[in-house]
Symmetry: C2
Subunit: 342 residues, 2 copies
DNA sequence: CTGTTAGCGCGTTCAC
DNA sequence: GTGAACGCGCTAACAG
């Protein structure tokens, strides 16, 4: 009973393969009785159509893809759920693909588009720069999220959409807030690598805020994280190193909530009270930031809305009721308990 | 320039399609020069082989699948990373599939097996019971993780492998630990639904520990969580409800670390000190449990080892150097700071 | 080393 | 309403 195919089903039912095909795919012009008989046999035999063969022929197939750069990143978790829900509501199929750190998400998209019959693609995270040529090769509309609008040259901005927040601006807002609380020696825990990531903009915002308020940048207070910016341990280790460096600071701004929570723990271990002795700020506004002890002062990205809007926009473009757009959501400064006036 | 295929590449290079195929697939018997010429043309044209067509023909294809039930569950994140690494080391391709809450993971596996050319399947999480018949339909070896060995009837235990911990036993261990600290009124925050989930066993362990030590079960201290057991908010809300119920308890045992961290926050908000006024215990031993304030007393599942062993075992079965096995890892009682002697 | 050819399993014309 | 035949793009035999 190896490899049961549509032909086998057809034989057993005494019908042609196309009839079976019609039964499976809910085509209208088929005798309900014939259909029932076929479906019964399918149930019995446990026949499962081969998707590869289907994709090869299919023309319609309402399917959209979500490519997630770093699926283990907790920041994307709620976004994925929102996208799944939205897509399902519209009766589209969803294929989710994990993009490895070393992969280029647009390359993966190109490949996936050949394999499946996609109608559109949503990117969650990923590199901030892409070749305009490659994006153009994609034949279906794409929406980048959590990435700004300057992914490729301005010339090609109408080839793709983006939904994001203005990272530099929001970061600026946070640092300015800390300054308004009286902090001058503000350390920042930031990304270490030099990839053109969105996260670099958070550092930019930091530098600009200091500059605006005439605070001299102390290079020793810029603490790069070794690799991943979404692990508690890196937040912890980097904070310890900062403490041990003996450098003076009254506030620590971490470019992710996860890092900030790791920092909280490091301060606790060092007997340094937050916010009495030092202020801590995060970024992202993940669920975790509202449940830490103390609650984090952070920039809340409207992740759910970004995901929702990205999906809506994609469908609008697919349905030709919208052109490509570049939507920027405002972030929200959440004043938690981890930062206070000096 | 629509839909460029292997035929097109062959034409442009003035060679046969099979030569192009050989070039793409790194076959040995091909002239390096020819290969280079072909690869150049492929680069130029941006040709990407159609995976569906490939899957249809391919016989070898070293590929294994990982099916994750609830990909947004932070517990699986490190496991996914371990599996990815192990699989890559062996030069196998990995396809990861997210199994929705309403989907049956074995059904999904069946489908995927038809579509791709799989050599084996690893399940991360999922239902604790499966039809033996369905599992038998899978033609490649499967390993279930974080799920005990009694998935189907004992008769078919040699049809699949499992790698897990003994949830009932570990849970028992934790509750006994709390009892040894002098606690008698131990509340438990547990799963609400009645699906035959692995998590039910944690409740079983709780009940057994109480029984052994002659502590009468107080139904009002068994607090079901509304749906998801991996959200901070549910931990928070359920704890609040418990506090407000006025029921007397000196310890709260949560069947996941995430719930426990939510509980910590709820106690903090209520002005109840942990562990001075109440002890809190978690389960899982996720990274988070080591960074919360206070650190959690919890049962550490060796998630990394489970993932590693599951992958190794799968490859051993594929390579015929092992039969199906049922491996049970010990959990580790981590004495954090959230529980103390009464 | 390379070209020719036969399917992989299915959806889609077309006839009937 | 239904069946036969064709081909999607590719890989794997088999010749040469």
């Amino acid at each position: 009973m190896s490899e049961i195919t549509i032909v086998e089903i057809a034989k057993r039912c005494g019908v042609g393969v196309s009839t079976v095909s019609r039964a499976i795919n809910n085509h209208s012009d088929i005798n309900p009785e014939t259909k029932k008989r076929i479906m019964d046999v399918i149930k019995e035999t446990g026949y499962i159509p081969n998707n590869s063969a289907r994709n090869l022929k299919r023309t319609d197939a309402k399917c959209i893809a979500v490519l997630v750069k770093g699926i283990t990143n907790s920041f994307f978790a709620p976004m994925i759920e929102v996208v799944e829900q939205e897509v399902e509501e519209r009766k589209y199929a969803l294929v989710m693909r994990h993009v490895e750190a070393y992969e280029d998400e647009v390359d993966v998209a190109l490949e996936l588009e050949k394999e499946k019959r996609l109608r559109g693609i949503i990117f969650l995270g990923g590199s901030a720069r892409h070749s305009a040529d490659k994006i153009k090769q994609l034949r279906v509309p794409v929406v980048f999220t959590t990435i700004g609008s300057d992914i490729a040259d301005d010339l090609s901005r109408n080839e793709y959409s983006t939904v994001s927040i203005d990272d530099a601006k929001e970061s600026f807002k946070m640092v300015e807030h800390l300054i308004s609380l009286g902090h001058k020696d503000i350390a920042i825990m930031t990304e270490g690598s030099d990839t053109p990531s969105i996260v670099r903009l958070r550092l930019t915002g930091y530098l600009e805020a200091l500059k605006k308020h005439g605070i001299k940048v102390n290079e020793k207070l810029i603490r790069p994280v070794d690799k991943k910016i979404y692990t508690l341990q890196n937040g912890y280790d980097t904070t310890r190193a900062l403490i041990e460096s003996g450098e003076k600071f009254t506030a620590l701004y971490c470019i992710s909530d996860v890092l900030a929570v790791g920092a909280l723990r490091a301060f606790a271990d060092a007997g340094i009270r937050v916010p009495e002795d030092v202020s801590v700020a995060g970024y992202d506004g993940q669920e975790l930031s509202r449940y830490s002890v103390p609650r984090l002062t952070t920039i809340k990205q409207p992740a759910d809305e970004i995901a929702k809007e990205a999906t809506k926009l994609l469908f609008n473009i697919i349905d030709k009721v919208s052109d490509h757009r570049h939507i920027v959501f405002p972030g929200e400064l959440i004043q938690g308990e981890s930062a206070k006036k000096i």
